[in-house]
């Protein structure tokens, strides 16, 4: 138990550290990388809660795919820190208001009345052969089937909408269509062999058979 507690404190500290670095770094790439660190350490926290499926999927989906795409975009941004700083004061009041509302919300949810060990029962630890993944699948596909399907359809709509909004055919870009290239067949599409009768050679040239090329074509 002691070792588990130690692990919890280590990962909790790393999560807090990384999360605060996310919002204090000037460089957005560093912020994104710290966000990755926060995801990994919170996945470790979930593992400590015996939610191994959620923990691993957090790494797989958010760290392995979402943040890679995120970094992909952020790395290509050319960010001028000076303009960011100039706007800082401009947006400060709005930011403070939003932050105030958030803090108030958090206080309502996590206030002293609803916080503390007596409010949250210790989750029962399952035997070693308990399969978290199967249990989650069982619940998702039976009890919460409709909710699950509705969420899936909403995501599908979002995907289609996002693709439709960003798909632009620009005629000026020179783009090779691989499917056209793949469709090229070995014979007729590459070389066209034609049969034609031999050209009659003018009698004046038959005498000088070793004539140069330019003369031949006349």
């Amino acid at each position: 138990m002691g070792f588990e507690k130690l692990l919890f404190y280590i990962f909790a500290a790393v999560t807090l550290f990384a999360a605060s670095m996310v919002i204090t770094r000037r460089n957005p790439v560093l912020s994104a990388l710290y966000l990755v660190m926060a995801f990994v350490s919170s996945a470790a926290l979930w593992l400590l809660l015996e939610a191994e499926f959620l923990g691993i999927v957090l790494i797989l989906v958010y760290v392995g795919a979402v943040m890679v795409l995120f970094l992909f975009v952020v790395m290509m941004l050319n960010i001028d820190v000076a303009t960011l700083r100039a706007r800082f004061i401009h947006y400060l009041p709005l930011g403070l208001i939003v932050a105030g509302i958030m803090v108030f919300d958090m206080f309502l949810v996590l206030g002293p009345a609803d916080f503390g060990l007596d409010q949250f029962a210790k989750p029962q630890s399952q035997p070693a052969d308990y399969n978290n993944t199967a249990a989650l699948g069982q619940i998702l596909y039976t009890t919460y089937l409709y909710q699950f399907e509705i969420a899936a359809v909403i995501l599908l709509v979002a995907i289609v909408a996002a693709i439709r909004l960003t798909l632009r055919h620009r005629p000026e870009t020179k783009y090779q269509d691989p499917s056209n290239q793949v469709r090229v067949r070995k014979g007729s599409d590459r070389v066209r062999l034609i049969t034609m009768p031999a050209e009659p050679v003018p009698p004046s040239l038959t005498a000088t058979l070793g004539a140069t090329h330019t003369e031949m074509t006349e």
Partner: protein
């Protein structure tokens, strides 16, 4: 055995980890030698033949040379990230081995979600490449890392879907259970009912490890050496190690999921089964793994590099539809208990 159980659990894990990592690093070292030798012979050359008998000590000479070299950090590079990047690429490559079973019961961590764990670990490797490219403050390195990021995201989806097929077929995410679900000789292994998924998985694995013909992230004829162009000495060697460790891992995973892992191919064949009964499972596992490791080299010596848009097309427009269709086929086959793979008795 008694002495072993007397040891405290962390010490047991430590010893087991060392017993996995050290042979793995040995395999990786001589895999680089095998690559140069095999490709050499395929191109009618001899390959390395100066250090040791037939050049067998070449990997040691290379390692010594790389250790002696200076690690140059480019000016304006982000020094911390520049040095962390190789570590980020090697750690997941080694950590994934924790759940790999080498024989029945011979596994460091026999966890329920082994398949997911491996997928998560292999998806972390790309951070090493991305961070290296960005932190180097070099255009070529940056281009390499952008290419790697887009490519890995594309192929990871196909890879994940191929694994979903394996999961449906085996009914478990645990590697030992996946292997045991394939019992009964060559024709019971999953390569046959999951043939399209096997193809997609292996090719995605080649793409995921940035190997030829998918090596655009380090395409030497286009962007010098891609993401590791600014690295030298041991920092470069670590990237090299990670790439080869990942190749061995992909070969091993292909064996476990599609070729029956440590199971003997002669199961169920009257005479041959008893003849080869004494061969330990790990030998079969290694033979199969070495075959797929050889295939990596074979592919590299055979095919020219893909063009980038062709890579994207293959990943998104060919592999993902194939895997989705075949997951459906496998699910139906499991529901209707198609024999011999999913008959009710098995």
């Amino acid at each position: 055995m008694e002495l072993w159980s007397l040891l405290p659990v962390p010490v047991q894990s430590l010893i087991a980890t060392v017993l996995i990592i050290l042979p793995l690093l040995g395999v990786v070292a001589w895999y680089t030698y095998a690559e140069r030798k095999v490709i050499g012979y395929m191109q009618v050359r001899i390959g390395p033949n100066r250090v040791g008998w037939r050049g067998l000590l070449q990997p040691i000479a290379d390692a010594l040379k790389l250790m002696m070299k200076e690690i140059i950090i480019p000016t304006q590079a982000n020094k911390q990230l520049f040095l962390i990047a190789p570590m980020i690429s090697i750690i997941p490559a080694l950590a994934a081995w924790a759940v790999i079973p080498f024989d029945a019961g011979l596994v460091l961590a026999d966890i329920n979600a082994g398949l997911l764990y491996v997928l998560a670990m292999t998806s972390l490797g790309v951070y090493g490449v991305i961070i290296a490219g960005w932190a180097s403050n070099s255009k070529y390195a940056f281009l390499g890392s952008l290419r790697a990021a887009a490519q890995i995201v594309a192929y990871e989806i196909a890879m994940g879907f191929a694994l979903v097929g394996v999961l449906v077929a085996a009914g478990s995410l645990n590697f030992s259970a996946i292997v045991m679900a394939q019992q009964g000789g060559v024709w019971h292994w999953f390569w046959l009912p999951l043939l399209p998924l096997f193809g997609v998985y292996y090719i995605s694995g080649v793409a995921e490890t940035n190997r030829a013909p998918f090596d655009v992230a380090e395409g030497e004829s286009e962007i010098v050496a891609g993401f590791h162009v600014e690295y030298s000495g041991m920092a470069f060697a670590i990237f090299f190690l990670a790439e080869y460790a990942n190749m061995v891992l992909i070969a091993m995973l292909t064996t476990l999921m599609f070729f029956g892992g440590w199971l003997s191919p002669f199961q169920g064949i009257p005479v041959l089964e008893s003849l080869f009964a004494g061969v330990p499972g790990i030998i079969w596992l290694l033979i199969k793994t070495f075959f797929f490791m050889f295939t990596f080299l074979w592919l590299r010596a055979t095919f020219p590099r893909y063009r980038y848009d062709q890579i994207m097309r293959l990943g998104w427009k060919v592999f993902i539809p194939i895997t989705i269709v075949w997951i459906l086929v496998v699910a139906l086959a499991v529901v209707f208990e198609v024999s011999p793979w999913w008959s009710a008795t098995a």
